[in-house]
């Protein structure tokens, strides 16, 4: 790789060259003063009026309150660019009145108009869509695009933009890489990747929220589609650079063994993810047991799956692990779940009576399904108690804790009311020899 031309350096020197001109300095100074003044005034206004405005907006309820709040925020966001426009326009008019060149200020006015429109669009997006969706687009796509556009517009006033873009930067594998090619391959590719990723992520989130049944398939298609678009973008960039595909084949061929070994697990996870998504054996919302912990499937990505335990801890599990190991799912083909409540009663109580009581309690408890019917079985004669097992079905795992709590509470209270004892663990002690005589004499 070698730098072929001094064009970039010359462009930088040209910028410094123009900055030495009093006419340019004057316009730039006027612009900077205008912008700083606008910012200062905006800060002062917001400091004085911001809180009262927000209070006023919060007085309204419902839809009115929503729009009042959004309107206040819109005003806050637009105040600075609008004041800036006024200030720069004032400066431009002043320069014109002095019969001095003001073209640079007029150019800045155009850029500020676009900046105002950009702020309006972004604020509107924040108003209409959830913040987490918009933030991604705002900071990673819209902002860079605006900055690139503004820079290109200013650069075009200094040098001929087409000529600048056609300038050779360096050579790569014998090919001259121009500024345009370089920018397309880096910035353009970044924006492409990020835009596709953002659209995929937002769409996935919307789908996951609305349609849990078909979400796996949709997510699978979105993922595959995004990777196809990434690859298409890569091919386009490759073509734009003008690289010979055989060069890539040569590199990948030579490195394929090493790359294959290194990426084996990644590829394995990728393919496992596809299988899981298409098979629909797991989907967001499913409750599974992982490493002895129960967790809910949060996100199904192409490489790994994110689950959230009931303690709100996220665990990221590579898809290959999920595919190749035993996974207990409580919500596979059906979300219905059976809870077993084991109760021991005293040998002095009637087990049949206790069994009937338990069944009636189960039928009275909220969230316990009628079909299948609750059953109660006498499981065995334990050391300390007669063991009964009450088996009830609930609609989903989320209600397990609630039902178990309700049943345990009602069992304890009802048994207490009916005189049915839940014994502690008991042991009969047989004392022999001198100790037996001693105890008998004392208890006589």
């Amino acid at each position: 790789m070698r730098l072929q031309d001094n064009a970039l350096w010359d462009t930088l020197l040209t910028i410094f060259h123009f900055l030495e001109r009093p006419l340019v300095q004057g316009q730039l100074a006027a612009f900077l003063v205008a912008v700083l003044s606008a910012w200062l005034i905006t800060s002062i206004i917001w400091r004085l009026l911001g809180r009262p405005l927000l209070k006023w907006a919060k007085r309204f309820e419902g839809r009115k309150g929503f729009f009042a709040l959004r309107f206040t925020r819109l005003m806050h966001r637009l105040l600075f660019p609008l004041l800036g426009l006024v200030a720069i326009r004032f400066s431009s008019n002043y320069f014109r009145s002095l019969d001095t060149v003001s073209g640079l200020l007029d150019e800045c006015i155009t850029i500020f108009w676009i900046f105002t429109a950009y702020r309006l669009i972004v604020t509107t997006l924040y108003t209409v869509f959830p913040e987490k969706y918009v933030a991604r687009f705002h900071h990673r796509i819209l902002s860079p695009v605006f900055i690139v556009w503004a820079s290109a517009r200013l650069l075009n006033t200094i040098v001929s933009l087409p000529s600048f873009l056609a300038t050779d930067l360096f050579t790569l594998f014998g090919l001259a890489i121009t500024v345009q090619t370089f920018l397309l391959a880096t910035l353009g590719f970044y924006l492409w990747i990020d835009s596709v990723s953002a659209i995929r992520d937002v769409w996935t989130q919307i789908v996951q929220k609305r349609n849990r049944e078909g979400v796996g398939l949709t997510v699978a298609w979105l993922s595959i589609g995004s990777y196809i678009l990434f690859f298409a973008g890569f091919i386009i960039v490759f073509n734009l650079i003008g690289l010979d595909p055989s060069a890539l084949a040569f590199i990948t061929g030579g490195l394929s063994v090493g790359v294959g070994f290194s990426l084996r697990s990644v590829l394995g996870n990728f393919l496992s993810g596809l299988i899981l998504l298409f098979e629909r054996s797991l989907k967001p919302g499913d409750v599974i047991e992982v490493d002895g912990l129960m967790a809910t499937v949060d996100k199904l990505n192409i490489r790994a799956t994110t689950v959230r335990t009931f303690s709100d801890v996220e665990i990221v599990i590579p898809n290959e692990s999920l595919l190749t190991s035993n996974v207990t799912t409580y919500t596979g083909s059906s979300k219905r779940l059976r809870i077993d409540i084991n109760v021991g009663i005293s040998y002095d109580n009637d087990p049949e009576e206790a069994r009937v009581l338990l069944l009636s309690l189960a039928k009275e408890t909220e969230l316990v399904l009628e079909t299948p019917e609750p059953i109660c079985l006498i499981m065995g004669f334990g050391d300390s108690s007669i063991d009964l097992s009450l088996k009830v079905w609930i609609a989903e795992i989320a209600s397990m804790g609630k039902v178990r709590n309700a049943l345990n509470t009602s069992i304890w209270r009802t048994f207490a009311d009916e005189g049915i004892e839940i014994p502690y663990p008991q042991r009969d002690l047989r004392v022999r020899g001198e100790a037996e005589s001693f105890i008998k004499s004392k208890t006589a």
Partner: protein
Amino acid sequence: MQRYSALLMRILFCFLIILSLIACRPETDESQLQGRILLWHSWEGQAEESLKSITKSFEDIYPDVNVITAFVEADNFKAQFELASSLAFGADLLITPSEALSDYANKGLIMPIPKEVSLGHLSENALATTKLEDAHYGLPLTLNSPVLYFNPNALLVGAEEVEEVPSDSTAEDQTDPSELVPPDVEIIREDTSTLDSLLEQASLGERVLIDTNFNQSVWGIHAFGDEIYKETGELALGEGFVAWLEWLQDSQNSQAVFLSNNSSLLLELFSTGKASYYIGDTALLTQLREALGNDLLVMPLPSATTNQAAGYLDTEALILNSMSSEKQQTLALELAKFLTNREQQRRLMRDLSRVPANQLVKIDERINPVVAVFKSQADEALPRPNTELNQLLVTRANNIYTQVLEGILSPEQALARLQDEFGPEALEEERP
């Protein structure tokens, strides 16, 4: 977000401080040239290399000076310069055709050459192209005027009827070379010092291309002894103009004479070897040599009187940007003076066969026969007036030429029309 805004404002504030410091820094010692010059041009290929070599020599003489040259396409030059000037940008020194000077000067984009600069070494004719009112708005660098180009290898038009070439046709519609006379037919090529001898050549099958745009056919008017303007500035067209138009009408009888107001088409026809004679500017030499090789010949324009015919003289002028700072203008002026000094002008003549504006450069016909012909034409050429009146005349005359050649107007009527509109009485009426 507010944090970022505050940070950005702090950066802008610092930039404002830096800008103030740059503006207020003390002036350095001006006795030694130092600084940077930005030069815009539309020269390509070998011409660009030659220019860069000259600026490099300037940098070698003044090591503290850096010259940045930038190529701007000729078609886009004016627009680019006007846009840049509106922002106080643009090069400090520009090489541009002299016909653009009046427009730039009227818009205040260029500054006049300071009166204390000595211009005695530059040809008067050349200086006339950069003069507006009482000031010179540029230094002429090279001269440009029409000459007669001859391609001895061009295919000839046969004696049999060939398809008439429509005026708006492209080069692809032209006569199939297989219909042309085979090269073993002997053609006696006579000199073309007169318009009649040029027609004789045409009758022998040598195709002649003539541009009928007014500016490009001023040489024809001059060939019949007329000037365009009198010294007083009044229109001087008379019998010579009528005779020229009559000659053009008569030449249409020859199948080998091709008249057109499409300058690009004519250039393409000649560049592709489909014509023997072509009247074009001296600045086209490099391009035509690349297309036709070194057999290309250059001859003086044919005349109809004893005087040598000559067309309008244009120059490539060095102009100074009025948006530059004082120091930048001083440096640019020094570079302009360097480019027009005898040694550098000689270099341009030697490397690019350009006609030097510096009259101290001696041109030896034996060493530079082509430039010698160019120079002789340039010496006789009429400096193109940079006036609004001339712009109007050109527009009107183009229209009248078309009417004459289409038979709508006679040459006498054409003259009468122009005199009605631009004669002394018409101008007297318009004066406030």
